[in-house]
């Protein structure tokens, strides 16, 4: 899941791959509020997760987002 989210961040949001670590926040990666909405929608489409933009912001670090995403993959 960490690698899949990293791929989205690098591919779609042009984040530097070297900057993506479990400790980093989305704000650290310079994603703004609309980027975070788009990240939530993209993760939903590509990974089947059900995280809202609020979930992503409240989770804090990328590691916490990965953990939450793992718990919230829609059964399909």
């Amino acid at each position: 899941m960490f690698q899949q989210i990293t791929d989205i961040l690098v591919g779609k949001f042009h984040v530097d791959p070297a900057a993506v670590t479990p400790d980093v926040t989305l704000t650290d990666l310079e994603l703004d509020s609309l980027d975070i909405v788009e990240l939530g929608l993209t993760m939903q489409q590509e990974l089947g997760t059900t995280l809202t933009d609020d979930d992503l912001v409240n989770a804090g670090s990328l590691g916490a987002i990965v953990e939450l995403a793992g718990q919230r993959v829609t059964a399909s």
Binding site: S33, L34, D35, I36, V37, E38, L41, D53
Partner: protein, 342 residues
């Protein structure tokens, strides 16, 4: 098919004009009184500069300029109706269109406002097309005009950097469905359950009905950006696909995509969802900001004038606005002389 159906007139675009007020407002100027910066605004909205109507300039003034240019572009000064799409009329009442019609020398004809905020141009387009298809008007002037800055809270950095002023207009005439400029099905939709996402809360009957005393900011425009983004991308994408379906076009057939200039990120997300390559997406938000109901005709006029929109191009229009409201339509761009003043 009966003779009467076969003879039904079809609305065709035959003129286009765009007008921006002269005052250029930079991001740095806004950063002078807001907690923001040029980098912040460009990164989040794609906007570099925008135009503000100066003192002494109202929505009707901008509408007259754009209307005059569109009439001139069409080659004829007369129409049977004026439809004005605006969320920032000169007065709560009367409507602004009658004054615009009178000032354009068209006193006596039908003239009315249409309100669908940023989707207003497409709602106005449906109304104007209906006038022509019903046989009630032969020629209609449709204007989208806004002095959006008149309802913006100058201290709200989330909206004050995005919205701006301007006007665009088109002339439609009765013609044939297979000629260039023929307007495809105007797909419209709304969802009033989410009216709170984009609104000016005060100033209407709701507060009085609920016994609410308006607060100092309740006369200003308010928007829930993240929620709007989600709805806008969904609705503009689905309306676009519906309009393409009615036209019998695939996404690959679209030469030019003309989305309402809400925010560069929304346009990019809709284009990506549709699978449209960047080179086919028209944009002027970097120089105009979000001009609400004026944005689509302004962009059409500017793009046709600078050559990025050419006769024969298959064009897809879409917009999303408060209401919630949204819409989409198609046309093959006709050989018109666009008049764009900025």
């Amino acid at each position: 098919m009966s003779a009467s159906l076969a003879a039904r007139p079809h609305p065709v675009l035959v003129g286009v004009g765009g007008y921006l007020p002269p005052r250029v407002v930079t991001n740095d100027e806004l950063a002078g009184h807001l907690d923001t910066s040029d980098e912040w605004i460009r990164g989040r909205t794609g906007i570099a500069v925008r135009r503000f109507a100066g003192p002494g300039t109202s929505t009707a003034d901008l509408a007259c300029e754009a209307g005059m240019l569109a009439l001139k572009s069409s080659g004829e000064p007369d129409v049977d109706a004026v439809v004005l799409a605006t969320a920032t009329p000169d007065h709560p009442l009367p409507a602004t269109a009658p004054e615009v019609a009178a000032r354009l020398g068209l006193s006596g004809i039908a003239a009315y406002d249409v309100g669908a905020v940023c989707a207003g141009f497409l709602y106005g387009l449906a109304s104007a097309c209906g006038q022509i298809a019903a046989g009630w008007s032969r020629r209609v002037l449709l204007i989208g005009a806004e002095t959006f800055t008149s309802i913006i809270d100058p201290q709200d950095r989330t909206t004050a950097v995005i919205f701006a002023d301007g006007a665009g207009a088109v002339v439609l005439r009765a013609g044939e469905p297979d000629e260039p400029g023929a307007i495809g099905r105007v797909v419209l939709g709304s969802d009033g359950d989410h009216k709170n996402l984009i609104m000016v809360p005060g100033g209407g009957s709701r507060y009085r009905a609920d016994g609410i005393t308006p607060g100092p900011r309740d006369g200003y425009f308010q928007m829930a950006g993240r929620d709007v983004y989600r709805h806008a991308v969904d609705r503009m994408s689905s309306a676009s696909l519906a309009a393409l379906g009615h036209a019998g076009w695939s996404v690959a057939d679209v030469d030019r995509f003309v989305p309402h200039q809400a925010n560069a990120k929304i346009s990019a997300a809709v284009a990506a969802r549709l699978g449209l390559p960047d080179g086919r997406v028209l944009s002027n938000i970097a120089e105009t900001g979000n001009t609400s109901a004026a944005s689509i005709p302004l962009l059409l006029a500017q793009a046709a004038a600078d050559g990025s929109l050419q006769p024969g191009h298959k064009v897809l229009l879409t917009a999303f606005g408060g209401g919630l409201t949204w819409g989409a339509s198609t046309l093959v761009w006709p050989g018109v002389t666009a008049l764009s003043e900025r």
